[in-house]
Amino acid sequence: MSLALVLEQLLNGVQFGLMLFLMSAGLTLVFGVMGLINLAHGSLYMIGAFLCAAVSGITGNFWLGLMGGLTAAAAAGALIEVLVIRRLYVRDHLDQVLATFALILILSEAMRLIFGPFPLYLNVPSALRGTVSLGIVDYSLYRLALIGFGIAVALGLWVLIAKTRLGIRIRAGESDREMIAALGVNIRALYTIVFALGAALAGLAGALVGAIQSVQVGMGEPVLILAFVVIVIGGIGSIKGAMVGALLVGVIDTMGRFLLPRVFAAFLDTSQAMGVGAALASMLIYLLMALVLIFRPKGLFPAHG
């Protein structure tokens, strides 16, 4: 086990964490501002990936595809908010879980109807193919670009929320919904914008990750559950918590899968060590979440005091 290999896995973990952050940011905003638990967030990730693959397949240009995926996810998010989600804000969590579970069924089947049952493939843009030397390790240029992209979007989101009028309204909505409506802010429009913003981030993550995975129906749900783990660890409603949680989950999951089988190989035979190590590694982040909830029931960075 060389230092280069460890560094490569660490970078993979950070890259995975930043993509999880894009998913989690929207989820945590929607919960923080509207008090809504949205299972269909993974479907928006899927829509972003499918539309990116389709548009870049037709035009031959990845960046056009990326714009297409992002726009489609945002539009789908706005449409879903107006048609369905809007009716759920006053309902209890059970109704929200069920209605958004129903949306997953509908959106997944709709994608299968439109694009057929087979996975689509999305190529890494030609400018970002190959590897780049980071001193001791040659690392995939595309994954490195994803890290840069993730950091840039996180900074952009911070500027949006901390420095703009829309951000002030979003933060006001998080702390007191009734009050900002009473002060004359169009709360319905604000909710639609926040939901579409979250959807756009999810679609962006889907499109970016689509180039290193296959684009298929059901790709959103595993990421969705990880994003839930992230926001529960970070504290629901907190963007900072989502960032810390996403990096923790990304790095711990990746390093666990890499290190645990090797640790067990020290005192078990190889095939057994691989099995035990892999089984434990896949449970690691859920253990982390359970531990966080036991000691900090509202997450690491509780959004409301």
């Binding site: 969590h93 069920l98 579970f101 949306l103 089947e109 109807l113 449970m283 859920y286």
Partner: protein
């Protein structure tokens, strides 16, 4: 006719139909229909278990597939070792349903005790998420643990035995499942009518007020959660025997979602809600699944419609609102 009598009449009708349809299928030699009715009965048992936590206690567990899968793997592992004549943890395998059910229920109850004790420290969305997380832990564990098939699952070559019945015959398997379902429903009705059920419902409606009159919310909810997990675990052992196969799919989060969907379609907290819901879900799958491969699109639309516009499910629609909802 008041709504309580209406509901009893409707319940009797559902119970009779679930017995009469497979009986007709037995006469008409349609074993497929008998197996479908068995599946409905077993899914209904699992949902009766969840209905104790969700319907009576208001605990939205998004991880009940964990207990279903635990029960399933107990049946699968016991049969596996009985078949190969090997031992597990020093014990021989068995192909008898009664000891398998007992172990499945004890194990599910123990796991539900641990999960409940940790999860009930939280509430609302955190409770939903932490129960989901524990189920995912189980899912990934079975997926990557190679000893019992890993992601390929574990087949049960010969269905486990029950004294006095030939479980290989669809009709015998149905009768057994039906009897267990009725027993589970009686247990649910007794729990709901007892002081325990009243306390559980009081806590759901107002935990502070319940605590003020001397009911400990944590203890009562934990006991409710454990009983709930045990019944769902029993259903898991039976489900594995029905399909003669157990795999990580039994612990998938969609399975947890399906159990909640069953209760919503039937009616939350209603005695026969799980039975009606399971019948609707399986019926929908068979009927629309035969018409179009995109039947889940229609299921999603129906579910969305029920959640948005027809709260109370089928029982609520036909028998009116619950008396103590």
């Amino acid at each position: 006719m008041d709504s309580t009598r209406k509901e009893w009449l409707l319940n009797a009708l559902i119970a009779t139909a679930l017995l009469a349809v497979p009986l007709w299928a037995l006469m008409a030699n349609e074993p497929f229909i008998i197996t479908l009715a068995t599946r409905i009965a077993i899914l209904a048992i699992a949902a009766v278990g969840l209905n104790i936590a969700l319907g009576l206690g208001g605990m939205v567990s998004f991880g009940h597939a964990l207990y279903l899968g635990l029960g399933g793997y107990v049946a699968g592992i016991a049969a596996h070792h009985a078949f190969s004549g090997t031992t597990v943890l020093g014990l021989p395998g068995t192909n008898q349903m009664l000891p398998i059910w007992a172990i499945a229920m004890i194990l599910s109850g123990a796991v539900a005790g641990v999960v409940g004790a940790l999860s009930l420290r939280t509430s609302g969305i955190f409770f939903i998420m932490i129960t989901l997380a524990f189920a995912q832990m189980g899912f990934f564990f079975t997926l990557s643990w190679p000893a019992y098939g890993g992601e390929d699952g574990l087949p049960i070559f010969v269905r486990n035995q029950f004294p006095g019945l030939n479980t290989a015959r669809p009709w015998d398997m149905f009768l057994l499942s039906y009897a267990v379902l009725i027993a589970a429903l009686i247990l649910f009705a007794m729990l709901r009518a007892a002081r325990f059920g009243a306390a559980l419902m009081a806590i759901r409606q107002n935990p502070d007020r319940a605590a003020a009159i001397g009911i400990s919310p944590f203890g009562i909810k934990l006991v409710g959660f454990i009983i709930s997990g045990m019944i769902t675990g029993l259903a898991g052992a039976m489900m594995a025997d029905l399909t003669r196969f157990v795999s990580p799919a039994m612990l998938a989060w969609t399975m947890s979602g399906e159990l909640i969907v069953i209760i919503i379609l039937g009616g939350v907290g209603r005695l026969f809600g799980p039975v009606a819901g399971a019948a609707i879900l399986v019926g929908f799958e068979v009927f629309f699944g035969g018409l179009t491969e995109h039947w889940k699109l229609w299921l999603g639309l129906v579910l969305l419609g029920v959640v948005l516009f027809a709260r109370g499910g089928l029982i609520g629609l036909l028998a009116g609102r619950a008396q103590n909802g």
